[in-house]
Symmetry: C2
Subunit: 99 residues, 2 copies
């Protein structure tokens, strides 16, 4: 007998990185670049500012959890017209037995 | 003779992850969580929304480049009262010989 029942769910922590696409204006990145001379910092360029969204998903396995994150990234977290996203699995953090 | 002159500089690409500290209110994370039922998504929790800042630093070596990023993260990119940051080296992307 396996000790993994069909109702055992695992919690996965993901990070979704949402960045402005190449060529898309990035006003926050520009603002950082324009602050650099005031700080006396030289040699810094190509600043891009995006979002990092961390979230925990409970699912039966990693593939099911990833499917949820993919859907959220596409429909809610990123604007596909102007932003690109990348999903990173941070950790499988716990098992939660529900039955 | 070495082919590495003192004026040879390397460009490093970093990512700075800036996240709200644990216990600090995160209204963007709450907004995402409150959208989940409307999308019919269950099993997602602990959503935190922060920033990902990518930047390129030219310096004589990785330690010098990292020192610049540390200073920017502390003084410009994060608010140390309410945010924590982590620096990730993405790539040493090119050598730029200046002499």
């Amino acid at each position: 007998m396996s000790d993994q029942s069909p109702t055992e769910r695992v919690a996965y922590r993901f990070a979704v990185h949402v960045m402005p696409k190449s060529g898309i204006l990035d006003p926050q990145g520009r603002a950082v670049e324009q602050s650099l001379p005031h700080l006396g910092v030289a040699g810094v360029r190509d600043v891009r500012v995006g979002r990092r969204v961390e979230l925990t998903v409970e699912a039966v396995d990693e593939a099911a959890a990833l499917a949820v994150v993919e859907r959220l990234a596409h429909e809610l977290l990123a604007n596909p017209l102007i932003e690109a996203y990348r999903i990173e699995l941070v950790a499988a953090i716990a098992a939660a037995r529900t039955a």
